[in-house]
Every structure is written in C-alpha cells, then in structure tokens.
Amino acid sequence: MNARRGIAGPVRLGLAPSRVTRWIILGLVAVVFAIPLLSLLEFSLRDGFTGTYTLDHWIGLFDPENARPYRQLFQAIGNSFVLAAVTVGIVLIVLLPTMLLVHMSFPKLRRVLEFICIIPITVPAIVLVVGLAPVYSIVVKIFGSGTWTLAFAYGILVLPYAYRAIQSNLDGVPVVTLSEAARSLGAGWPTVVWSVLLPNLRRGVLAAAFITVAVVLGEFTLASLLNRRNLQTAILQISSSDPWISAILALIALAFAFLLLLLIGRLGTVGNRNRS
C-alpha cells in the first residue's frame, strides 16, 4: 500500500508530538511553575533592610527563642495536621466501606455515588460555605467549636479526589471474586476486608489518604470563612507582620504536598513493578 502511494517508510499519523516538541512543552510548563516558586524562594532568602541574601529567616523559624511569637503559627500547623488526620479517618471509615459495599453488593448505585462524590469539585467554595454555615451551627452544638470539626467539611471537599484514587484501584482488582473465594474458604466479612481486600487496595487507599492530606494542608477558603485557624489562614495572618515567614511556610507546604504527590506516583510504579 505504501509503495503504491510512493511512501517508503512507515506512515506517521501525526497524532503524537515529536520528542523535541514534547520537551519544549515540558520546559515551558516547568518555567511557568518554577518562576513564582523561585521568586518566593529568592524573596525568603533576602534581607529586608540591606537586600542581601541570608538564611536568617529560615533559621529564625526553627529558633527556639522565636517559639513565643510563632506560637499561634505552630498551633495552626498542628490544627492542620489534626484536620488532615481526621479527614483521612473520615475517608477510610465512611467513603471506603461505602465504595466497597456499592462495588460488591449494589453495582447499580455506582453512578449515583460517583455523581455525589464529584459534586464538591463543581460547587464553588463560597457556595459550599453558604450551605455549610447553618450546618455548622448544629455541628458546634454537638461537637463544640474546635478546629478539628472543620474535618467534616473537608471530608466532603476531598470526596472527588479520594473517590477517584480508590475507584481506579477497585476497577483493577476482582474484588467480588476474591471476596467470594475467601468466604468459600471460611473467612467472615471482617477477615475478607482486612486480609484480602485491603492489601490489594493498598495503593488506592494510600493514594486517597495522601491526596487528602495534600488538599487539607492547602485549604484556605473554608477555614477562613468559617473562622477556623489552620496553616493557610495563619500564613495569611502572619504575612502582614512577617512576609518572609509566610513565604517560607508556603514553600514548605508546597514542598510537602509535592512530596506526597511524588509518593502517590511512586506507589503506582511500585505496584506495576511487582506485577511485572
């Protein structure tokens, strides 16, 4: 066919960009992301008075002598970690069993669950807050006004990401067959879930947990509008008095989130390597 058309080699359909084009696109994207981050880093290393570069701001953050002025900041960081832990707990205790149940016993409800889980990504944060404000007046009555209660809202906020991470793993594991095989061998449901299903869903569950932590540590709008203090609101607050510290914290938070995302990616490749 090629010879008839006078084409010597294999036909390029032109669907995929060439190697050079791919590197150019990657380079451009990297520059777009790197410029603000490098600017932030450069700013955090600059002395406010002389304009020279110094590590004083970075060292000062971890200096025990500064513990008092930064007390509220560290408290906010602690709040964010507590929020991340509680939100991960909500994902594992509420979302994961629900997804397993739907996958194994009510497959017709899968689309409904997927739709519900995607809703938070389509609703603007401000609209979510307007809806959550009256709910939180009840939450406060039951659980008090502790910052950790924000995890209930975050549990909704992370649904799209956590759902996708777990579902992609669920789709690749013959959950029904494995659970039936385990039951036929004498295992009760708790054993089926703990000893058979969870080890095979580890990648999805860990990815969901990590992405939940990343989302919670970066969340600002809900905390700010519901008057709770977390890492992001603290960074904003401190930026007016100490912009270098807020820049450093923003960088650390981004690096941490980047590390988590790297771990999620690594989990995927580890799984693939084991399979091969």
């Binding site: 594991v173 067959t177 039936e180 039951r183 004498g186 295992a187 054993t191």
Partner: protein, 368 residues
C-alpha cells in the same frame, strides 16, 4: 511460560495424599427457587448427589446452572426450597459456614499472597496451627503437581497453574463438597483437557462429592458420573453421559448433547419414517403426525458414488477432525445432513454421494 509448557515441566503425582482424606457428603437441592426481578433463574430444581459422586450441571448460558451452584455455595440466597448437606439444611447458613471448597471461573488466587499462603488461607481460617498448615498446604500442592512453586505469586503462574493452585486451596480444608464453577473455561484447549482429567483423577482418589458447572458438553460427558442438563431454570434430564447421549429424554437434550440432524418424517404408532428409513421413537409417546427426527451424525452412513445404496446427496463441506471426518451433505429435497465417517473417505464439496441410516432409535419433535 505458557500453560502447555507449564504442564510439561510440572510433574503430576499419581499417589493420593493421606492427609487429604475426605468424608464424602450427600447433597440435596429440593425444589430450589431463585427469582431475579420477576425472572425465575431457578424454577424449583431438585437434585441429589450421592456421596463421592461427580455430577455436572450442563446447559446453555442463562439456564441457571451457575445460579444453582452459587445457591449451594451460599453466594446466592434462595427464594424457596431447601439445600441439604448430609441431611443438614444449610439454606440459611452463610458461605463461610457451609464447609465447601470452590474453584471459580475467573482466576481467584489472592494476588498479595504466595501460592503456599493462598493454600494455607482456609486452614488459617480454621485456626490450624502454623506447622500443620505448612505440611497440609504443601501436600495439597504436591497433589496438583505444584509442590515446587509454593513461593511464587499468582501473576508468576500460568492460567492452568493458577486453577490447579485454586483446586489445592479448595481441597486442603477437606471440605464436604467441592464446587467447580466452569474452572476450565479460561484455559486453552489442550490444557483444558489435561486439567479436566487431573480434576477427575483427584476427585476419584479423594472420593469427594463434586458439582461441576460447565456449558461444554464434551467436558461434562468426559468427566462426570452423571450429567444434569438444565434449561430455563429447570433440570431437563439427569443421567449418565451414555444415557443422555443415547436416550435423550427431550428434543432439547437431543439437540444440546452431541450433534443431531433434524430429519423431517412422519410418526405413526411409535415408528418414524424419515428419508426412506424407519426409526423407533425414543422417550415418551407422541401423537401421530409429521415430526422432526433427531439423528446423530454417526448414525448416518456415507457411501461414495452413484451406485451405492441410499439417498442421493451432494457434498457441501467436509472437515478433518483428527480421528474422524465430518461431512455436510445436501439431500435432493434440500435437507442438510451432518455425517461422521472414517478419515479414509475424503469427499470434496460438489461430489455426488449416497447416504443411508443405521436405523437406531431416535427422539423427535412435532414438525412446525
């Protein structure tokens, strides 16, 4: 490694394993009903398996055979009837309390466990101590010829090997009943035949009561003591493979089990006259009138040349099947017949031949 290579390299033992002694159980399904959204997947089926018996449930897709097996396993709740194992009604018992061993159609080894850990799983659930678990699991693996592969993971095994491990895993707990849900359907043809023979040999050695679901009639006839042919949630006929093949009780069984030619004829007083030959009618008496007689290809005789005795026919196609040849011919009245004959006779499409009938009894259905 392909399945076939794996079968060549893995030694299959011939001696039964002493620790896998099993007390065979009686299994009874009595008027079992299962309804899915108004559709009766099981329409009151009754079936009894004697201790140590190997029974195959055979039928087309959607006939309810897998549902029946899953009901026995406790994986489907039944809407009526009772299921008894050794006289105990297990209808209300969850799967994990029924003391069954099951091999599934899909590969079902736990991917995160080694082969040995997979086989030990059932023993772990029964709280057997670790040392005994190891010994028994190893013996079960030896039984299926995979004793050397205990440290491998499922993805490092071929499909046939995975199913053999699944068989070892199902047997190691010495269950009262072994349930096989189309365990060979995902394997290639050669491995299927070898594995089904191995399953049958192990079943005979252990004497375990076994229910085997398949849609492959050759498989069912080859391994089972008795075969139950199912249709639309009911058991159409149950009997030995020979009974089903030689004396099918209904046209459906005649049509489903083995190949049959439908030859138009006339029934009168229990005798069918079709294509110039008379046949005795099998099964229940039918009213006289036009019928379609079910004649097996091996009951049709092919003779080359115009001078031979029989009906004139033209060869449409001919296939070499190894030890025999199957030829399709068209009679002058347009009826197509499948003929099974020796490979030494090699008709070509378009050849003129003559066909006759051995005249063995046949089943029939009223002509439409």
């Amino acid at each position: 490694m392909t399945d076939t290579q794996a079968l060549r390299t893995a030694a299959w033992p011939t001696e039964p394993v002493a620790s896998l002694e099993i007390t065979p159980a009686t299994v009874e399904l009595d008027g079992v009903v299962k309804v899915y959204s108004g559709h009766r997947a099981l329409d009151g089926i009754s079936l009894k398996l004697e201790p140590g018996e190997f029974v195959a449930l055979l039928g087309p897709s959607g006939c309810g055979k897998t549902t029946a097996l899953r009901a026995l396993a406790g994986l489907e709740a039944v809407d009526g009837g009772s299921i008894r194992i050794d006289g105990d009604d297990v209808s209300g018992l969850p799967t994990n309390k029924r003391d069954i061993g099951m091999v599934f159609q899909a590969y079902s080894l736990f991917p995160h466990m080694t082969v040995l850990e997979n086989v030990e799983f059932g023993l772990r659930m029964r709280k057997v101590d670790k040392a005994e678990r190891r010994v028994r699991a190893q013996e079960a693996l030896d039984l299926v010829g995979l004793g050397e592969r205990g440290e491998r993971f499922a993805h490092q095994l071929s499909g046939g090997q995975q199913q053999r491990v699944a068989l070892a895993r199902a047997l190691v707990t010495r269950p009262r009943v072994l349930l096989l849900d189309e365990p060979l359907s995902a394997l290639d043809a050669k491995v299927r035949v070898q594995l089904r023979e191995q399953i049958r040999r192990i079943q005979t050695e252990l004497g375990i009561t076994t229910l085997f679901v398949t849609h492959d009639q050759e498989e069912a006839l080859a391994v089972a003591d008795r075969v139950a042919v199912m249709r639309e949630g009911r058991i159409e006929q149950i009997g030995t493979p020979e009974e089903l093949y030689v004396t099918p009780a209904t046209p459906f069984v005649a049509d489903f089990v083995g190949l049959s030619n439908r030859v138009p004829g006339t029934l009168k007083a229990g005798t069918i006259t079709a294509a110039g030959t008379t046949f005795a009618l099998l099964g229940e008496a039918q009213p006289d009138g036009p019928v379609l007689a079910y004649v097996r290809p091996e009951d049709v005789v092919l003779a080359a040349g115009k001078t031979a005795k029989g009906l004139d026919a033209t060869v449409v196609a001919s296939s070499f099947l190894g030890s025999l040849r199957r030829t399709t011919v068209r009679l002058d009245d347009g009826t197509l017949l499948s003929v099974q004959h020796e490979v030494s006779v090699q008709p070509a499409p378009g050849d003129t031949v003559r066909v006759g009938f051995r005249g063995n009894p046949v089943s029939a259905v009223p002509a439409p």
